[in-house]
Symmetry: C2
Subunit: 225 residues, 2 copies
Amino acid sequence: MNADPRRLARVLGHGFEREELLERALTHRSAGPLNNERLEFLGDALIGFLMAEVLLERFPQADEGALSRMRASLVNRESLAELARGMQLGDYLRLGAGELRTGGQGRDSILADALEAVLGAVFLDAGFAATRTLVLRLFAPRLEQTIAIQAAKDPKTRLQEWLQSRKRPLPEYLVLDIGGDQHAQTFTVSCLLPDADVRTQGEGSSRRRAEQAAAQAMLERIEDV
Amino acid sequence: MNADPRRLARVLGHGFEREELLERALTHRSAGPLNNERLEFLGDALIGFLMAEVLLERFPQADEGALSRMRASLVNRESLAELARGMQLGDYLRLGAGELRTGGQGRDSILADALEAVLGAVFLDAGFAATRTLVLRLFAPRLEQTIAIQAAKDPKTRLQEWLQSRKRPLPEYLVLDIGGDQHAQTFTVSCLLPDADVRTQGEGSSRRRAEQAAAQAMLERIEDV
Protein backbone atom coordinates (compact mmCIF):
# COMPACT_ATOMS: atom_id res chain seq x y z
CA MET A 1 0.00 0.00 0.00
CA ASN A 2 1.27 3.45 -0.86
CA ALA A 3 1.85 6.24 1.64
CA ASP A 4 -0.59 9.16 1.52
CA PRO A 5 0.57 11.72 -1.07
CA ARG A 6 -0.60 14.51 1.21
CA ARG A 7 2.18 13.59 3.61
CA LEU A 8 4.63 14.06 0.75
CA ALA A 9 3.02 17.42 0.01
CA ARG A 10 3.76 18.46 3.59
CA VAL A 11 7.39 17.34 3.27
CA LEU A 12 7.63 19.42 0.10
CA GLY A 13 6.01 22.37 1.84
CA HIS A 14 3.47 22.64 -0.96
CA GLY A 15 -0.19 21.80 -0.53
CA PHE A 16 -1.62 20.99 -3.96
CA GLU A 17 -4.75 22.72 -5.16
CA ARG A 18 -5.03 20.04 -7.80
CA GLU A 19 -4.15 16.84 -5.96
CA GLU A 20 -4.55 14.84 -9.15
CA LEU A 21 -1.35 16.45 -10.44
CA LEU A 22 0.63 15.04 -7.54
CA GLU A 23 -0.96 11.63 -8.01
CA ARG A 24 -0.07 11.71 -11.68
CA ALA A 25 3.50 12.70 -10.84
CA LEU A 26 3.81 9.66 -8.59
CA THR A 27 2.54 7.20 -11.21
CA HIS A 28 5.27 5.34 -13.07
CA ARG A 29 4.59 4.32 -16.66
CA SER A 30 4.54 0.67 -15.55
CA ALA A 31 1.29 1.46 -13.71
CA GLY A 32 -0.63 2.55 -16.81
CA PRO A 33 -1.04 5.04 -19.60
CA LEU A 34 -1.90 7.94 -17.28
CA ASN A 35 1.60 8.23 -15.88
CA ASN A 36 4.23 10.83 -14.98
CA GLU A 37 6.22 10.99 -18.22
CA ARG A 38 4.78 14.28 -19.46
CA LEU A 39 5.28 15.93 -16.08
CA GLU A 40 8.83 14.61 -16.00
CA PHE A 41 9.49 16.29 -19.35
CA LEU A 42 8.34 19.60 -17.86
CA GLY A 43 10.14 19.17 -14.54
CA ASP A 44 13.42 18.27 -16.20
CA ALA A 45 13.39 21.46 -18.26
CA LEU A 46 12.31 23.52 -15.25
CA ILE A 47 15.13 22.27 -13.02
CA GLY A 48 17.65 22.84 -15.80
CA PHE A 49 16.55 26.43 -16.15
CA LEU A 50 16.39 27.20 -12.42
CA MET A 51 19.87 25.78 -11.87
CA ALA A 52 21.20 27.83 -14.78
CA GLU A 53 19.72 30.92 -13.17
CA VAL A 54 21.06 30.30 -9.69
CA LEU A 55 24.54 29.28 -10.88
CA LEU A 56 24.77 32.38 -13.05
CA GLU A 57 24.00 34.51 -10.03
CA ARG A 58 26.22 32.68 -7.57
CA PHE A 59 29.25 32.38 -9.86
CA PRO A 60 29.71 35.76 -11.50
CA GLN A 61 33.12 34.74 -12.79
CA ALA A 62 32.32 31.31 -14.18
CA ASP A 63 32.14 30.94 -17.93
CA GLU A 64 29.53 28.94 -19.83
CA GLY A 65 31.63 25.76 -19.73
CA ALA A 66 32.12 25.93 -15.97
CA LEU A 67 28.41 26.70 -15.42
CA SER A 68 27.47 23.72 -17.56
CA ARG A 69 29.79 21.41 -15.65
CA MET A 70 28.54 22.64 -12.30
CA ARG A 71 24.94 22.15 -13.36
CA ALA A 72 25.69 18.62 -14.55
CA SER A 73 27.24 17.81 -11.19
CA LEU A 74 24.29 19.35 -9.30
CA VAL A 75 21.53 17.80 -11.38
CA ASN A 76 21.87 14.24 -12.55
CA ARG A 77 20.19 10.91 -12.05
CA GLU A 78 22.13 10.13 -8.86
CA SER A 79 21.69 13.51 -7.23
CA LEU A 80 17.98 13.61 -8.03
CA ALA A 81 17.54 10.06 -6.72
CA GLU A 82 19.32 11.02 -3.52
CA LEU A 83 17.04 14.02 -3.03
CA ALA A 84 14.06 11.77 -3.74
CA ARG A 85 15.23 9.29 -1.10
CA GLY A 86 15.59 12.13 1.40
CA MET A 87 11.83 12.64 1.15
CA GLN A 88 11.01 8.89 1.00
CA LEU A 89 9.57 9.44 -2.45
CA GLY A 90 9.70 5.71 -3.18
CA ASP A 91 7.00 5.08 -0.57
CA TYR A 92 4.50 7.14 -2.56
CA LEU A 93 5.11 5.73 -6.02
CA ARG A 94 2.58 3.78 -8.00
CA LEU A 95 4.30 1.09 -9.95
CA GLY A 96 3.17 -1.84 -12.06
CA ALA A 97 3.39 -5.31 -10.55
CA GLY A 98 6.62 -6.17 -12.37
CA GLU A 99 8.43 -3.04 -11.19
CA LEU A 100 7.20 -3.53 -7.63
CA ARG A 101 8.47 -7.09 -7.59
CA THR A 102 11.93 -6.08 -8.79
CA GLY A 103 12.26 -3.14 -6.38
CA GLY A 104 11.54 -0.34 -8.85
CA GLN A 105 10.65 2.02 -6.00
CA GLY A 106 14.34 2.03 -5.00
CA ARG A 107 15.80 2.44 -8.48
CA ASP A 108 17.69 5.67 -9.24
CA SER A 109 16.09 6.25 -12.64
CA ILE A 110 12.54 5.82 -11.35
CA LEU A 111 13.15 8.02 -8.31
CA ALA A 112 14.89 10.74 -10.33
CA ASP A 113 12.12 10.81 -12.95
CA ALA A 114 9.45 10.94 -10.25
CA LEU A 115 11.11 13.88 -8.51
CA GLU A 116 11.27 15.76 -11.82
CA ALA A 117 7.59 14.97 -12.36
CA VAL A 118 6.66 16.16 -8.86
CA LEU A 119 8.40 19.49 -9.48
CA GLY A 120 6.68 19.77 -12.86
CA ALA A 121 3.39 19.18 -11.04
CA VAL A 122 4.18 21.90 -8.49
CA PHE A 123 4.80 24.32 -11.35
CA LEU A 124 1.45 23.53 -13.01
CA ASP A 125 -0.27 23.79 -9.65
CA ALA A 126 1.34 26.92 -8.24
CA GLY A 127 3.32 28.73 -10.92
CA PHE A 128 6.88 29.86 -11.34
CA ALA A 129 7.69 31.78 -8.17
CA ALA A 130 6.46 29.10 -5.77
CA THR A 131 8.27 26.34 -7.65
CA ARG A 132 11.45 28.36 -7.82
CA THR A 133 11.45 28.81 -4.04
CA LEU A 134 10.84 25.11 -3.50
CA VAL A 135 13.52 23.98 -5.96
CA LEU A 136 16.13 26.36 -4.56
CA ARG A 137 15.39 25.14 -1.02
CA LEU A 138 15.64 21.53 -2.16
CA PHE A 139 18.97 22.05 -3.91
CA ALA A 140 20.44 24.49 -1.36
CA PRO A 141 22.68 21.97 0.45
CA ARG A 142 24.15 20.70 -2.82
CA LEU A 143 24.58 24.21 -4.10
CA GLU A 144 26.45 25.27 -0.97
CA GLN A 145 28.68 22.24 -1.41
CA THR A 146 29.44 23.27 -4.99
CA ILE A 147 30.21 26.79 -3.85
CA ALA A 148 32.50 25.48 -1.11
CA ILE A 149 34.38 23.29 -3.61
CA GLN A 150 34.87 26.26 -5.91
CA ALA A 151 35.93 28.57 -3.08
CA ALA A 152 38.42 26.00 -1.82
CA LYS A 153 40.34 26.33 -5.06
CA ASP A 154 43.10 28.88 -4.72
CA PRO A 155 43.26 31.88 -7.05
CA LYS A 156 46.09 30.48 -9.19
CA THR A 157 44.10 27.30 -9.85
CA ARG A 158 40.95 29.23 -10.65
CA LEU A 159 42.81 31.58 -13.00
CA GLN A 160 44.46 28.64 -14.72
CA GLU A 161 41.10 26.85 -15.19
CA TRP A 162 39.50 30.02 -16.47
CA LEU A 163 42.23 30.46 -19.09
CA GLN A 164 42.34 26.80 -20.07
CA SER A 165 38.60 26.71 -20.63
CA ARG A 166 39.13 29.51 -23.15
CA LYS A 167 42.10 27.77 -24.74
CA ARG A 168 44.31 30.69 -23.77
CA PRO A 169 47.98 30.48 -22.75
CA LEU A 170 48.83 30.12 -19.06
CA PRO A 171 49.76 33.19 -17.00
CA GLU A 172 53.39 34.08 -16.33
CA TYR A 173 54.47 34.97 -12.81
CA LEU A 174 57.59 37.05 -12.24
CA VAL A 175 59.23 38.16 -8.98
CA LEU A 176 59.65 41.92 -9.27
CA ASP A 177 61.03 42.67 -5.85
CA ILE A 178 62.03 41.12 -2.54
CA GLY A 179 62.01 43.67 0.27
CA GLY A 180 62.05 43.84 4.05
CA ASP A 181 64.29 42.14 6.59
CA GLN A 182 65.56 38.66 6.04
CA HIS A 183 63.07 37.28 8.58
CA ALA A 184 60.13 39.40 7.38
CA GLN A 185 60.55 39.49 3.64
CA THR A 186 57.91 40.90 1.31
CA PHE A 187 57.71 39.47 -2.18
CA THR A 188 56.22 41.44 -5.03
CA VAL A 189 55.15 39.32 -8.00
CA SER A 190 53.54 40.23 -11.30
CA CYS A 191 51.02 38.10 -13.15
CA LEU A 192 50.93 38.49 -16.92
CA LEU A 193 48.46 37.17 -19.46
CA PRO A 194 50.85 36.82 -22.41
CA ASP A 195 48.16 36.94 -25.11
CA ALA A 196 46.47 40.06 -23.75
CA ASP A 197 49.37 42.05 -22.31
CA VAL A 198 47.40 42.50 -19.08
CA ARG A 199 49.40 42.65 -15.84
CA THR A 200 48.53 42.63 -12.17
CA GLN A 201 50.70 42.61 -9.04
CA GLY A 202 50.53 40.91 -5.68
CA GLU A 203 52.50 41.05 -2.46
CA GLY A 204 53.01 38.42 0.19
CA SER A 205 55.37 37.03 2.81
CA SER A 206 56.39 34.25 0.43
CA ARG A 207 56.72 33.93 -3.29
CA ARG A 208 53.73 31.57 -3.34
CA ARG A 209 51.53 33.99 -1.39
CA ALA A 210 52.51 36.87 -3.64
CA GLU A 211 51.64 34.80 -6.72
CA GLN A 212 48.24 33.96 -5.24
CA ALA A 213 47.59 37.65 -4.56
CA ALA A 214 48.58 38.57 -8.12
CA ALA A 215 46.32 35.82 -9.50
CA GLN A 216 43.45 37.05 -7.33
CA ALA A 217 43.95 40.58 -8.66
CA MET A 218 43.86 39.18 -12.21
CA LEU A 219 40.63 37.29 -11.49
CA GLU A 220 39.04 40.50 -10.29
CA ARG A 221 40.25 42.33 -13.39
CA ILE A 222 38.67 39.80 -15.75
CA GLU A 223 35.52 39.34 -13.70
CA ASP A 224 32.37 38.81 -15.76
CA VAL A 225 28.98 40.35 -15.17
CA MET B 1 28.94 50.73 -37.23
CA ASN B 2 26.35 48.87 -35.22
CA ALA B 3 22.66 49.73 -35.16
CA ASP B 4 21.32 51.26 -31.94
CA PRO B 5 20.37 48.45 -29.50
CA ARG B 6 17.39 50.54 -28.35
CA ARG B 7 15.83 50.01 -31.76
CA LEU B 8 16.15 46.27 -31.20
CA ALA B 9 14.53 46.70 -27.79
CA ARG B 10 11.56 48.32 -29.52
CA VAL B 11 11.33 45.44 -32.01
CA LEU B 12 11.34 43.04 -29.06
CA GLY B 13 8.71 45.09 -27.30
CA HIS B 14 10.88 45.24 -24.19
CA GLY B 15 12.56 48.40 -22.99
CA PHE B 16 15.53 47.40 -20.84
CA GLU B 17 15.92 48.88 -17.37
CA ARG B 18 19.51 47.68 -17.46
CA GLU B 19 20.68 48.48 -20.97
CA GLU B 20 24.08 46.96 -20.26
CA LEU B 21 22.41 43.54 -20.25
CA LEU B 22 21.26 44.00 -23.83
CA GLU B 23 24.68 45.25 -24.85
CA ARG B 24 26.28 42.23 -23.25
CA ALA B 25 23.83 39.91 -25.01
CA LEU B 26 24.86 41.41 -28.35
CA THR B 27 28.59 40.95 -27.77
CA HIS B 28 30.06 37.85 -29.38
CA ARG B 29 33.02 36.22 -27.70
CA SER B 30 35.25 37.31 -30.58
CA ALA B 31 34.77 40.89 -29.33
CA GLY B 32 36.27 40.27 -25.91
CA PRO B 33 36.00 38.61 -22.55
CA LEU B 34 32.82 40.44 -21.53
CA ASN B 35 30.62 38.60 -24.02
CA ASN B 36 27.24 36.93 -24.29
CA GLU B 37 28.18 33.33 -23.46
CA ARG B 38 26.81 33.33 -19.91
CA LEU B 39 23.55 34.93 -21.01
CA GLU B 40 23.29 32.39 -23.81
CA PHE B 41 23.57 29.58 -21.23
CA LEU B 42 20.65 31.10 -19.34
CA GLY B 43 18.55 31.85 -22.43
CA ASP B 44 19.01 28.37 -23.86
CA ALA B 45 17.65 26.78 -20.66
CA LEU B 46 14.85 29.31 -20.46
CA ILE B 47 13.62 28.69 -24.00
CA GLY B 48 13.80 24.94 -23.46
CA PHE B 49 11.62 25.21 -20.39
CA LEU B 50 9.07 27.62 -21.89
CA MET B 51 8.65 25.45 -24.98
CA ALA B 52 8.18 22.38 -22.77
CA GLU B 53 5.47 24.22 -20.91
CA VAL B 54 3.59 25.46 -23.96
CA LEU B 55 3.80 22.14 -25.81
CA LEU B 56 2.53 20.28 -22.77
CA GLU B 57 -0.47 22.58 -22.67
CA ARG B 58 -1.17 22.61 -26.40
CA PHE B 59 -0.75 18.87 -26.95
CA PRO B 60 -2.61 17.14 -24.14
CA GLN B 61 -2.33 13.80 -25.92
CA ALA B 62 1.33 13.88 -26.87
CA ASP B 63 3.69 11.67 -24.92
CA GLU B 64 7.14 12.66 -23.74
CA GLY B 65 8.81 11.44 -26.93
CA ALA B 66 6.48 13.42 -29.17
CA LEU B 67 6.90 16.54 -27.01
CA SER B 68 10.66 16.19 -27.21
CA ARG B 69 10.60 15.85 -30.98
CA MET B 70 8.28 18.83 -31.38
CA ARG B 71 10.48 20.96 -29.17
CA ALA B 72 13.57 19.97 -31.14
CA SER B 73 11.84 20.99 -34.35
CA LEU B 74 10.67 24.29 -32.84
CA VAL B 75 13.94 25.26 -31.18
CA ASN B 76 17.18 24.59 -32.97
CA ARG B 77 20.05 26.52 -34.46
CA GLU B 78 18.26 27.12 -37.76
CA SER B 79 14.93 28.17 -36.28
CA LEU B 80 16.59 30.51 -33.79
CA ALA B 81 18.75 32.01 -36.52
CA GLU B 82 15.68 32.59 -38.66
CA LEU B 83 13.90 34.35 -35.81
CA ALA B 84 17.04 36.41 -35.23
CA ARG B 85 17.11 37.41 -38.90
CA GLY B 86 13.47 38.45 -38.65
CA MET B 87 14.53 41.14 -36.19
CA GLN B 88 17.75 42.01 -38.04
CA LEU B 89 19.71 40.90 -35.01
CA GLY B 90 22.90 40.69 -37.04
CA ASP B 91 22.92 44.47 -37.43
CA TYR B 92 23.29 44.95 -33.69
CA LEU B 93 26.03 42.41 -32.98
CA ARG B 94 29.48 43.30 -31.74
CA LEU B 95 31.99 40.99 -33.30
CA GLY B 96 35.76 40.80 -33.36
CA ALA B 97 37.54 41.93 -36.51
CA GLY B 98 38.05 38.38 -37.78
CA GLU B 99 34.39 37.43 -37.43
CA LEU B 100 33.29 40.68 -39.06
CA ARG B 101 35.55 40.09 -42.01
CA THR B 102 34.22 36.57 -42.56
CA GLY B 103 30.56 37.56 -42.23
CA GLY B 104 29.98 36.27 -38.70
CA GLN B 105 26.94 38.53 -38.31
CA GLY B 106 25.12 36.34 -40.84
CA ARG B 107 26.17 32.97 -39.44
CA ASP B 108 23.43 30.74 -37.99
CA SER B 109 25.37 29.75 -34.89
CA ILE B 110 26.25 33.33 -33.94
CA LEU B 111 22.70 34.57 -34.57
CA ALA B 112 21.09 31.70 -32.66
CA ASP B 113 23.41 32.14 -29.68
CA ALA B 114 22.80 35.89 -29.65
CA LEU B 115 19.03 35.44 -29.65
CA GLU B 116 19.30 33.05 -26.71
CA ALA B 117 21.48 35.59 -24.93
CA VAL B 118 19.01 38.41 -25.62
CA LEU B 119 16.18 36.35 -24.11
CA GLY B 120 18.37 35.51 -21.13
CA ALA B 121 19.00 39.24 -20.74
CA VAL B 122 15.27 40.00 -20.86
CA PHE B 123 14.74 37.47 -18.08
CA LEU B 124 17.38 39.06 -15.84
CA ASP B 125 15.97 42.50 -16.62
CA ALA B 126 12.25 41.85 -16.29
CA GLY B 127 11.63 38.43 -14.71
CA PHE B 128 9.76 35.34 -15.70
CA ALA B 129 6.28 36.54 -16.66
CA ALA B 130 7.47 39.26 -19.03
CA THR B 131 9.99 36.96 -20.71
CA ARG B 132 7.42 34.21 -21.06
CA THR B 133 5.04 36.57 -22.85
CA LEU B 134 7.80 37.73 -25.18
CA VAL B 135 9.06 34.24 -25.98
CA LEU B 136 5.58 32.88 -26.65
CA ARG B 137 4.85 35.80 -28.98
CA LEU B 138 8.15 35.26 -30.76
CA PHE B 139 7.54 31.54 -31.27
CA ALA B 140 3.79 31.79 -31.93
CA PRO B 141 3.95 31.46 -35.73
CA ARG B 142 6.18 28.36 -35.50
CA LEU B 143 4.03 26.90 -32.79
CA GLU B 144 0.87 27.36 -34.87
CA GLN B 145 2.65 25.66 -37.74
CA THR B 146 3.55 22.71 -35.52
CA ILE B 147 -0.05 22.49 -34.33
CA ALA B 148 -1.32 22.60 -37.91
CA ILE B 149 1.05 19.81 -38.93
CA GLN B 150 -0.13 17.66 -36.05
CA ALA B 151 -3.80 18.42 -36.72
CA ALA B 152 -3.39 17.58 -40.40
CA LYS B 153 -2.56 14.03 -39.47
CA ASP B 154 -5.62 11.84 -39.52
CA PRO B 155 -6.65 9.91 -36.39
CA LYS B 156 -5.37 6.54 -37.66
CA THR B 157 -1.93 8.02 -38.26
CA ARG B 158 -1.86 9.71 -34.88
CA LEU B 159 -2.97 6.55 -33.10
CA GLN B 160 -0.35 4.52 -34.94
CA GLU B 161 2.41 7.00 -34.02
CA TRP B 162 1.27 7.06 -30.42
CA LEU B 163 1.45 3.27 -30.19
CA GLN B 164 4.74 3.00 -32.07
CA SER B 165 6.39 5.52 -29.79
CA ARG B 166 5.49 3.19 -26.91
CA LYS B 167 6.68 0.09 -28.79
CA ARG B 168 3.17 -1.31 -28.63
CA PRO B 169 1.50 -3.46 -31.33
CA LEU B 170 -0.58 -1.75 -34.01
CA PRO B 171 -4.35 -1.51 -33.65
CA GLU B 172 -6.64 -3.97 -35.42
CA TYR B 173 -9.65 -2.67 -37.33
CA LEU B 174 -12.62 -4.95 -37.98
CA VAL B 175 -15.83 -4.27 -39.91
CA LEU B 176 -18.66 -5.21 -37.56
CA ASP B 177 -21.61 -4.21 -39.69
CA ILE B 178 -22.64 -2.71 -43.02
CA GLY B 179 -26.13 -1.25 -42.86
CA GLY B 180 -28.36 1.11 -44.80
CA ASP B 181 -29.30 1.15 -48.49
CA GLN B 182 -26.78 0.25 -51.14
CA HIS B 183 -26.32 3.92 -52.05
CA ALA B 184 -26.24 5.15 -48.46
CA GLN B 185 -24.36 2.50 -46.60
CA THR B 186 -23.20 2.89 -43.00
CA PHE B 187 -20.10 1.02 -41.93
CA THR B 188 -19.48 0.13 -38.31
CA VAL B 189 -15.86 -0.65 -37.50
CA SER B 190 -14.15 -1.62 -34.25
CA CYS B 191 -10.64 -0.60 -33.27
CA LEU B 192 -8.83 -2.97 -30.93
CA LEU B 193 -5.55 -2.52 -29.06
CA PRO B 194 -4.46 -6.15 -28.99
CA ASP B 195 -2.14 -5.81 -26.01
CA ALA B 196 -4.67 -4.02 -23.81
CA ASP B 197 -7.99 -5.56 -24.88
CA VAL B 198 -9.44 -2.07 -25.27
CA ARG B 199 -12.02 -1.57 -28.00
CA THR B 200 -13.77 1.42 -29.54
CA GLN B 201 -16.23 1.73 -32.41
CA GLY B 202 -16.76 4.16 -35.23
CA GLU B 203 -19.34 4.67 -37.95
CA GLY B 204 -19.00 6.22 -41.35
CA SER B 205 -20.22 6.23 -44.94
CA SER B 206 -17.14 4.28 -46.00
CA ARG B 207 -14.93 1.72 -44.36
CA ARG B 208 -12.10 4.24 -44.24
CA ARG B 209 -14.26 6.89 -42.55
CA ALA B 210 -15.52 4.39 -40.01
CA GLU B 211 -11.95 3.35 -39.22
CA GLN B 212 -10.95 7.00 -38.71
CA ALA B 213 -13.90 7.49 -36.37
CA ALA B 214 -12.96 4.39 -34.38
CA ALA B 215 -9.32 5.58 -34.18
CA GLN B 216 -10.50 9.00 -33.02
CA ALA B 217 -12.58 7.37 -30.29
CA MET B 218 -9.53 5.37 -29.22
CA LEU B 219 -7.39 8.53 -29.08
CA GLU B 220 -9.96 10.12 -26.82
CA ARG B 221 -10.05 7.04 -24.62
CA ILE B 222 -6.27 7.06 -24.10
CA GLU B 223 -6.00 10.81 -23.81
CA ASP B 224 -3.42 12.04 -21.32
CA VAL B 225 -3.80 14.86 -18.85
